[in-house]
């Protein structure tokens, strides 16, 4: 199996640094972006399997970024991250096509599990489309 390519988008630099190191240690290929715009720039040049996206960010919000990603890259799955655990933001993320949802702080192994599941779904979707 190829290495999973993940993009983590969050406005906290420390958080990005740590999550990158820890996921890489778990054999995940990790890129980071400090905001929605940078994330979209990155996606334009690099094929990515899963985007991990913070809901609340200055500038372009997580939900807006999610909408953009869904529009442009059908095969990329998105997992939303938030420190604000309201049902509303969760439902909003999912209703705009996010694959799943995690509350901060989280357990890295839970995250990894979800990334795997998201990849699996992306792969299934791809296979289905190729068959069609």
């Amino acid at each position: 199996m190829d290495r999973v390519r993940v993009l983590v988008v969050d406005d906290e630099a420390d958080f990005l640094k740590l999550i990158k190191r820890r996921l890489e240690k778990r054999n995940v290929e990790v890129s980071v972006a400090p905001g929605g715009r940078e994330a979209l720039d990155h996606l334009a040049g690099q094929p990515t399997d899963v985007v991990i996206l913070d809901v609340r960010m200055p500038g372009m919000s997580g939900i807006d970024t999610l909408k953009e990603i869904r529009k442009r890259y059908r095969e990329t799955e998105v997992i939303m991250l938030t420190g604000h655990g309201s049902v509303q933001s969760g439902i909003e993320g999912i209703s705009h096509g996010a694959y799943d949802y995690m509350l901060k702080p989280f357990n890295i192994d839970d995250l990894l599990e979800r990334i795997r599941a998201a990849c699996e779904r992306a792969r299934l979707k791809k296979a289905e489309r190729e068959r069609a």
Partner: protein, 561 residues
């Protein structure tokens, strides 16, 4: 609004309504009354005038008849023939027959001496030469005297006509019976206190007055200015209002006075007036009662609406308070969750390094391992706190959590344990042990159960029992809360879920409890039913779906903590 301001409102509405209806009513009454009184008074006056006028005419006719009679007798006979006593007596008999009021006849020569006389008195040889009436008669040809006592010493009056025969002048004189004349005048008087009499120019009574005195006495008439036609004079005598119609006679300067008692004549009017007054009073009372009732109900309705609005305002204020508190809590939690996750990842990173074995084996590494665990444990602690805060923030919206309805019900009953014991109420729980978990908002369900239990306790008061039963339903769970309370009357059963419907005294019931229960259950995809029998008890049955998906999508798999 305070109670006094409602009272003031009620009062001013009452006054306004009463003013607007009673003032026109009384104005109308006043106008009707005064118009009626005036026209009735006019009618009485004109009636009085007519009576006086007609009677005066009749008296004039009477006098004219006597005068004509005398003139005929004088014209058809000579002085010589009438000087004969026997002839005169013959003539008198005829005249008396025709007019019984003529009680004697006398022939008087120009020297004033009685030439002949026929009548009941002995008046022959009386000389009238010095009597004023004799001179008047000689001067004017006709003379009607005032009533006087004369030689005969009883009230009478005379009519004298002059006759010129060749070079001689003589006078035929007749005495008129006052009694007959008095009778003629008397029959005019009306009522119990009416009066009628004749007076001469000086106000001396020519016929007796019923109350005012004997003949030749002074009549008690007030001064007035004669107009030549019938005059109407009003005055008050001994507290009675009198009105007189005074008509002049054509042949003499006598005047016929017809007096009526104003009050007596007006008594039909007064009767009508009191009838009208009674009617108006009834109208006024009806209006007042109507105003009182309608104002009362309007104000009561207003009061109720105000109270409802106040309750609603209070609820809105409360929920706004909760909402802003929730927002604050959510904001704080979010700000803390971000650094918490960095701390956690840092600790995680240290653990990753240790686990890689890059640091080798030493007690220092073990210490590091332990410190990392401490960090992770305390981050977990802080996380619990922030998530609880978020949970509080979310209480405004339905949560989705696995709920054991049995446990929830048991817990809710325990909240009310003191109250239940205090009122000597027995609570029996019959829980289905295999009841499936449901995905719903525990907090809100707890509110529902609490509300129903409180209502049941209120309905029982003291000494009774409440049964709480759970059982599985079709894709749902069902809970019965039955009480042995007073029950709900059939006409109220359909209303108990209406907002603001309450049978409890003001201040105790808001009537919002069941309507909130109803809307909460609807929101959670469930429902509620009620069965009740008066005097036996009431059972509320709530149904909750196993899973309630309010928004289509796959939220159920993502929402874990």
């Amino acid at each position: 609004m305070t109670d006094t301001s409602y009272t003031r409102l009620r009062l001013s509405l009452m006054l306004l309504t009463l003013g607007l209806s009673l003032v026109p009513l009384f104005a109308l009454g006043f106008v009707i009354d005064s118009e009626f009184r005036e026209s009735y008074g006019d009618k009485l006056t004109s009636n009085l005038k007519l009576v006086a006028h007609n009677k005066a005419d009749a008296l004039d006719v009477f006098l004219t008849e006597r005068v004509v009679q005398l003139e005929m007798v004088a014209g058809m006979n000579t002085l010589d023939s009438l000087s004969n006593q026997q002839a005169l007596e013959l003539v008198f008999d005829t005249v008396h027959e025709a007019s019984p009021s003529i009680i004697d006849l006398g022939v008087i020569g120009q020297n004033g001496r009685h030439v002949a006389y026929s009548g009941p008195f002995d008046l022959r040889d009386v000389n009238y030469k010095d009597e004023p009436w004799f001179h008047q008669a000689m001067l004017k040809g006709l003379y009607i005297s005032d009533v006087f006592m004369g030689f005969r010493n009883f009230p009478h009056f005379i009519i004298a006509v002059k006759r010129r025969e060749g070079g001689r002048t003589w006078i035929l004189r007749a005495t008129i019976d006052s009694d007959i004349f008095t009778g003629l005048v008397r029959n005019v008087q009306s009522g119990a206190s009416g009066d009628a009499y004749l007076v001469n120019r000086e106000g001396v009574l020519q016929t007796p007055s019923r109350f005012g005195g004997k003949v030749l006495g002074q009549a008690s008439l007030p001064a007035y200015r004669p107009s030549g036609d019938v005059d109407v004079v009003r005055w008050t005598e001994d507290g009675t209002e009198l009105v007189a119609g005074i008509a002049p006679l054509a042949h003499t300067d006598w005047r016929l006075v017809v007096i009526e008692n104003q009050q007596e004549e007006l008594s039909p009017l007064l009767r009508a007036q009191s009838l009208i007054f009674g009617l108006f009073l009834i109208c006024a009372l009806m209006i007042a009662a109507g105003a009182y009732l309608s104002v009362g109900s309007v104000v009561k309705r207003l009061q109720k609406a105000d109270k409802a609005r106040a309750a609603m305002d209070a609820a809105v204020v409360q929920s706004n308070k909760m909402a802003s508190l929730g927002k604050l809590a959510a904001g704080v939690a979010h700000e803390i969750n971000n650094p918490l996750s960095i701390i956690r990842e840092s600790a995680g990173w240290i653990r990753d390094i240790i686990n890689d074995g890059e640091l080798g084996e030493s007690t220092a590494v073990d210490d590091l391992q332990e410190a990392t665990s401490d960090i992770e444990r305390h981050v977990e602690r802080a996380r619990t706190v922030t998530h609880r805060m978020l949970g509080f923030a979310r209480r405004m919206e339905p949560l989705q959590e696995d709920v054991d309805l049995n446990m929830l019900a048991r817990q809710t009953v325990s909240f009310l344990e003191n109250e239940i014991r205090h009122r000597n109420i027995e609570v029996e729980c019959r829980f289905d042990q295999d009841l499936p978990l449901i995905t719903t908002d525990a907090n809100q369900i707890q509110q529902v159960i609490l509300n129903l239990l409180e209502n049941a306790i209120d309905a029982i008061g003291h000494d009774g029992c409440i049964e709480v039963e759970t059982r599985p339903g079709d894709g749902a769970v069902v809970m019965d809360i039955a009480d042995s309370g007073e029950g709900i009357s059939p006409e109220n059963v359909s209303k108990v879920f209406d907002p603001f419907f309450t049978t409890k005294p003001t201040g105790e019931g808001t009537g919002l409890g069941l309507s909130i229960v109803y809307s909460t259950l609807k929101k959670l995809g469930g429902g509620i039913d009620v069965r009740s029998e008066r005097g036996v008890g009431t059972t509320f049955t709530i149904t909750l779906p196993l899973v309630h998906v309010s928004i289509p999508g796959r939220q159920e798999e993502s929402w874990t903590e």
